[in-house]
């Protein structure tokens, strides 16, 4: 009996120590701002915490926005807590609730699903926490109580992309590749592309960014079975690379364009495999909300005058790909 008790106590100690070591060990690695404190003279160490919550799932696109948010924190001298909900609206709501519990000084969030986030954001507003929406939810931003929206007008961008693709493909059928479920922003892009393209447009759902292999196969089978497809528009840089592989693998002559950049996408644009990429500068979508919220907390400044702060669309094609390439590879574009 004594032996069992000893083992139990030992197990508890080991468990406790292991968790402690895991925590302390990673605190140093994760707290990147402490590394820079030695090198950079921070202007003022503001005692503010900004929660940045997006619906990303660790993919290339959101990694750039995360870098932007973290850099914004470093430059403004505030603590940035970045978290992702992996496109699960309930988790997104729970993350906003946690931020409200922690009494952060500002919440920057994407709004892929306004219905799901209405209640948690209302709680944040009632608690006096300023909100900036980013990336998606431009039309719902004001109604949700945000002080401004930082992003790209998806319908406008979609229309521009559709028009450009119609010119390069010269008619035919456009396939709009939707990689996320339930994101109104993506649906707006495809709807805009439909208006701009003018011809037949079909929305095709693929598995998503966490299963690129399956997405590639899905696209390839679509291209091989449907010979009318003359253009493919993807809405994510990882999916764009998958589409490039699908087009080459299926020996299709469809023109390919995408939304959003990555190092691979820029390389493909330079090589002519992708016609153009619509850049919404998601780095700014991470960086600017942190700046805006800090300014609001300190100086009651609001930006935009009731209008969203637009970060796109910008077009990256063969003519300017070289300039963007290095930055895209570093993960800041």
């Amino acid at each position: 009996m004594r032996r069992v008790l000893h083992y139990v106590v030992a197990a508890l100690l080991v468990l406790g120590m292991a968790v402690l070591v895991a925590a302390c060990g990673d605190d140093d690695d994760g707290d990147s701002s402490s590394k820079n404190k030695d090198n950079v003279n921070l202007t003022q160490g503001r005692d503010l915490t900004i929660a940045v919550i997006t619906h990303g799932e660790g993919d290339t696109f959101w990694a750039v926005a995360k870098k932007g948010a973290e850099q914004g924190g470093k430059d403004m001298g505030v603590e940035v807590k970045y978290s992702e909900s992996a496109n699960d609206p309930q988790k997104h709501a729970q993350l906003i609730d946690s931020a409200v519990t922690e009494k952060v000084d500002g919440i920057a969030t994407s709004v892929p699903n306004a219905d799901a986030l209405r209640d948690p954001l209302k709680k944040a507003v009632d608690a006096g926490i300023p909100i900036v929406t980013l990336n998606s939810g431009q039309n719902d931003s004001a109604a949700l109580g945000a002080i401004t929206h930082v992003g790209q007008d998806e319908s406008v961008a979609g229309e521009a992309a559709g028009k450009r693709l119609a010119e390069s493909a010269g008619g035919g059928k456009l396939v709009c590749v939707v990689h996320e479920q339930g994101n109104t922003g993506l649906e707006e892009r495809c709807a805009g592309a439909k208006k701009g393209f003018g011809g037949e447009v079909e929305n095709v759902q693929v598995k998503g960014v966490n299963d690129i292999a399956t997405s590639t196969t899905e696209l390839q089978s679509k291209l091989q079975s449907d010979k009318d497809v003359s253009a493919v528009l993807t809405l994510n840089p990882d999916i764009a690379v998958a589409a490039r592989d699908a087009v080459q693998g299926g020996s299709s002559d469809a023109k390919l364009a995408t939304f959003d950049l990555s190092g691979d996408v820029v390389k493909a644009v330079k090589a002519g495999e992708i016609e153009f990429a619509v850049d919404q500068q998601q780095y700014l979508q991470g960086y600017l909300p942190v700046v805006f919220l800090t300014l609001y907390d300190e100086n009651n400044n609001t930006v935009g005058g009731g209008q969203p702060v637009l970060t796109g669309p910008g077009f990256v094609d063969k003519s300017n790909a070289a300039q963007v390439e290095k930055l895209a590879e570093e993960g800041t574009r």
Binding site: M1, R3, V4, L5, Y7, V8, A11, L12, L15, G16, A18, V19, L20, A22, A23, D26, D27, D29, G30, D31, G58, E79, K81, Y82, S83, E84, N87, D88, P89, Q90, A93, Q94, L95, D97, S98, T101, E102, K103, N113, D115, A116, R118, D119, K123, V178, Q181, G182, E187, Q205
Partner: protein, 355 residues
């Protein structure tokens, strides 16, 4: 003469307290250590204390509202899945079932125009039907439930996306808040209470755990479940209706998943077609962390609830600690592994020298 008298003498009455010397004297501590949920409780205590000490908000009532929120929507199906695992079967379709039932209720309410309460009742009935199909297939074909429910998982995933798109044209069912009966249904299923905003699902979770524990510990059906999971053939030989028990358990998991799907749909006033995919493993993990054996016949509902609590505490604790979220899943995996190891270790050492 005297011998007869001795033989006819009445026997001496037995002493008032008889201790059968064949029974070993097991201390209360050992009895406690042998409970399946003890390891999980210790792990939960360590994790809870750790996060309460290292963060500002975890140990507050406000913070507790956050991690009980996450734990409750995991815990309700986890308890049902634990009962099923004690009965010796798996249900991989429980996660997708939350999405299917949410979408079913949403479509009934918004497209068909039903009252919310009627839609809820129909959803639970439909979920029971799906659970019945699962159980019937497992019992009839005698295939491993892993395979049968995996097939159901894929079917439901396809139905979720295809039917939603066909009916609403998008991958989401929205506008639930405009349906009649929404406000009252929201208060019962999806709302919150108290100034700290505890979710109603926490109360449901507690109630279902108590119900499941009572079933397992105090009713004949509970005995049947343990029997079926321990050895189905032996159980059948002593008269346990094995097919009925299994089908009933599958219906239980489907309906528990449907309840959670209804709660989430009402809380968010919308349902996404991808809801719930991948959650089935969280339910199984919660049950295993809580002491259920993968081979069946052993486990507890309280253990599964504690397992769900551990997952909820880990998720929110990591959030409050501000650790780099890139490593979030690593931490979650480490915490869960440690919880299972502690649980295993304690149980084995407590049972090892069974005095």
């Amino acid at each position: 003469m005297s011998d007869q008298a001795t033989a006819l003498k009445p026997p001496t009455p037995p002493p008032t307290s008889v201790v059968d010397e064949r029974l070993a004297d097991v201390s209360l501590l050992t009895k406690l250590l042998r409970r399946p949920e003890l390891g999980a409780l210790m792990a939960a205590a360590v994790i809870g204390i750790f996060f309460a000490v290292t963060t500002d908000d975890f140990g507050t009532l406000d913070g507790a509202a956050n991690w009980t929120d996450v734990a409750s929507t995991l815990g309700i199906p986890a308890v049902a899945v634990a009962l099923l695992m004690i009965g010796g079967e798996f249900d991989l379709s429980a996660g997708v079932m939350t999405g299917t039932s949410g979408l079913f209720m949403g479509v009934m309410a918004t497209e068909v125009g039903m009252n919310m309460w009627l839609a809820i009742v129909l959803t639970l009935i439909a979920a029971g039907a799906v659970g019945f199909i699962n159980g019937y297939m497992v019992v009839r074909t005698k295939l491993p439930s892993f395979i049968v429910t995996l097939a159901t998982f894929f079917v439901l995933q396809g139905v979720n996306l295809g039917v939603t798109k066909a009916i609403t044209g998008s991958v989401r069912v929205a506008g639930l808040s405009d349906v009649s009966g929404y406000d009252s249904a929201f208060k019962i299923f999806g709302g919150s209470f108290s100034t700290y905003d505890y979710r109603v699902s926490v109360l449901w979770w507690a109630a279902i755990t108590i119900l499941a524990t009572w079933i397992l510990a105090r009713t004949r059906v509970g005995n049947w479940i343990f029997g079926v999971g321990g050895d189905a053939v032996a159980a059948r030989n002593v008269g346990v209706p094995v097919p009925r028990v299994k089908i009933g358990l599958f219906m239980g998991t489907a309906m528990a998943a449907a309840l959670v799907g209804i709660m989430i749909a009402l809380r968010l006033s919308s349902v996404q077609a991808s809801q719930g995919v991948g959650d089935e493993f969280n339910y199984i993990i919660a049950a295993v962390v809580g002491g259920c054996l993968l081979t069946g016949g052993f486990g507890s509902a309280i253990g599964a609830s504690v397992g769900a609590l551990i997952i909820g505490m880990a998720f929110i604790g990591i959030q409050f600690s501000g650790w780099n979220t890139d490593w979030r899943f690593l931490f979650l995996g480490v915490i869960l592994l440690l919880a299972v190891l502690v649980n295993n270790f304690v149980r084995r050492s407590a049972e090892g020298a069974r005095k």
